[in-house]
């Protein structure tokens, strides 16, 4: 019996357990509300259904959250991702709209390449501020968050640029191998990031920098270079997300593209079990977190609730997930529930939080 209990404790104690429970509950609630929710059909060789829609719409958030995970792992934060997405989407759409033939693949590729290059520059700017000058990440990226919105509006001259370009639209709503193209991009980026961080030493080095930048530098890690790198990667991810968001609606609105995506991304990362203190990151958790947020948004739309009121639900879910994961809350709760249980696990947990 005791082994069963420890096994159960092992399962419930896994960092992905509670996020997955929340995701399953959300999906179940949707299915109860609308039994057709889980059905997926094949039309014209493409898969359709609510689940596929959730996956497709969560692709930009997954991308941004991936970049954000790496930044948060170094103990930083990147508030500028929404603005970077807006700037890149605006530049790409502006370039395409000036082409004589908007459907030419070459033109679209050039537009995407230019915008991607700008994103790398913006990421490098963040990286220089944080790693080079040593400004706190939250402030350094706040600069670009505020100014970036202005830049995006400058690019679009305060207008909404609409384009009519099939190749560009593919990024957002196209299909490949029955799946939406956006999912495949997100999946590919996830795989690349996972391979680079978990099959090489890069992931461990990033965590080392997040744990203690000075100690890692003394241990021979070029911590500044790593910090610089994560901001560039984050901006690159944001740029691709920006392409998807603008391609989804075939237009670029400097004000609206990627608005609050930085907050959603940070939430996804935190829900996934990555602490904002840095030193650890869990890509799988981040993806589950992003899916939770998108499922929540989609279910709220499906249930005809005002999207703004949906924020209430988001607040409740965020606080619930964060509380469940907070070591202090768990320890308190466990002690009250079972005073006889030896407090080995809670004590260990509390030790972890002391340096924070």
């Amino acid at each position: 019996m005791s082994t069963a209990r420890t096994r159960l404790a092992g399962v419930t104690g896994h960092r992905l357990f509670w996020p997955l429970v929340v995701l399953v509950v959300l999906l179940a609630a949707n299915t109860v509300y609308r039994p057709s929710f889980l059905s997926v059909e094949l039309k014209n060789g493409h898969l359709y259904g609510s689940l596929i829609d959730i996956l497709r719409l969560s692709a930009p958030l997954i991308l941004v959250a991936l970049g954000m995970s790496l930044v948060i792992a170094t103990g930083g934060i990147d508030l500028s991702v929404g603005s970077v997405a807006a700037v890149c989407g605006a530049i790409a759409c502006l370039y395409i709209s000036e082409q004589p033939d908007q459907n030419s693949l070459g033109g679209v590729l050039t537009a995407v390449a230019i915008a991607f290059g700008i994103a790398l520059l913006l990421g490098a700017w963040n990286g220089i501020l944080v790693a080079g000058i040593g400004i706190q990440p939250i402030i350094a990226t706040l600069i670009l968050m505020v100014a970036g919105r202005g830049l995006a509006q400058l690019v679009t001259s305060g207008q909404i640029i609409t384009i009519n370009s099939e190749p560009y639209k593919t990024i957002g709503v196209g299909h490949l191998l029955t799946l939406p193209f956006a999912i495949i991009i997100a999946l590919a980026v996830t795989l690349v990031v996972a391979l680079l961080t978990r099959r090489t030493a890069l992931g461990m080095i990033i965590e080392a920098v997040g744990g203690n930048a000075e100690a890692s530098r003394l241990a021979g890690v070029r911590s500044r270079r790593i910090t610089f790198l994560v901001y560039v990667v984050s901006a690159a991810c944001a740029a691709v997300a920006g392409f998807m968001m603008t391609a989804n609606v075939s237009s670029a609105d400097g004000n609206a593209v990627g608005l609050w995506v930085e907050l959603d991304a940070i939430l996804a990362v935190v829900i996934g079990g990555t602490s904002l203190v840095g030193g650890r990151f869990y890509l799988s958790g981040t993806i589950v977190g992003a899916l939770i947020i998108q499922t929540l948004t989609t279910s709220v739309y499906a249930m005809n609730i005002d999207p703004q009121t949906a924020l209430l639900f988001k607040a409740v879910v965020v606080i619930a997930v964060c509380l469940i994961q907070a070591p202090a809350f768990r320890a308190r709760f466990r002690r009250r529930q079972a005073p006889g249980v030896p407090p080995a696990a809670p004590v260990e947990k509390q030790k972890e939080q002391v340096p924070a």
């Binding site: 934060i77 400004i135 505020v146 202005g150 001259s157 940070i266 009121t309 607040a315 606080i319």
Partner: protein, 330 residues
Amino acid sequence: MTTTPLAARGPRAWWRVPQRQVPVLATLALLLVMYGIGVSQYRAFSNIQVVFNIFIDNGFLLVVAVGMTFVILTGGIDLSVGSVVAMTAMVSASLLGDGVHPALVLLIALLIGPTLGFAMGCVIHFFDIQPFIVTLAGMFFARGMCTWISSTSIPITDGFWTSAAQERIRIGENFVTVSVLVALAVVAVAAYTLAYTRLGRNVYAIGGNQQSALLMGLPVGRTKIAVYTISGLCSAIGGILLSFYTLSGAPLIAVGMELDTIAAVVIGGTLLTGGSGYVFGTLLGVLVLGVIQTLITFDGSLSSWWTKIVIGGLLFAFILLQRLVGIRKK
């Protein structure tokens, strides 16, 4: 960190200003230069009413920024302020629409913000969750409440509210509104609290080094909860001032205000790591934002998005300055 004023009393040249005051003085210089540019470029700018209008248009921002100063001084951050401002305005508007007595509405509206702030402070302190995440949830909650109350804008026609909004307090040939007086009173009270009360000194001590403050026996938890409550109260006052200013409650008003507020506090010379800064600096920071907007309005040919780009540039300049001052100290 907080003992610098003591150390600063030693014999030294009179022209040397204490290093922690350099950012505030830089802001003051910037403000004077920008005002000078305005006066030299536009004849109407020298009218003293322009200055009063900056106060009238930014009174609520000033109050909210004062609350944010408390939070940032402890090294925390409060992202919920903009939503709490909107929620307060919404609640007042909807209660007034139901015919509730204005005094009661005022009381309820002033209680909501601090209650939410207190709750967030408790979660931050007792469960040790980052302020960023907790106040983010608070922001979502308050914004959701706004639309839950009403998805459209509610006009305010109550007699007390309209008279408070339209009252012109004459100063010579010019005038200010009630909101400006309230805002300045809040600034005065906050400056006194930070400089001369036990709570104020605790705030600086926690921002300087929380561990040391704890070891010194200072009430760290109580102070941390207090600053979020104060920030909530300031947001509530700001929300009422905003409802005076617009005479309505709208669910999407004050979106992104938290960024303006943080920018004002940083431009005002408060360190985001906490422990150093003044309410007076925050006042200057808000004025700088106000003068930028006024300059862009006077120019007429510049588009509104230049405001954001200029604010971003200023943020960069001031953070760089703080950094340089910090390096010199070492």
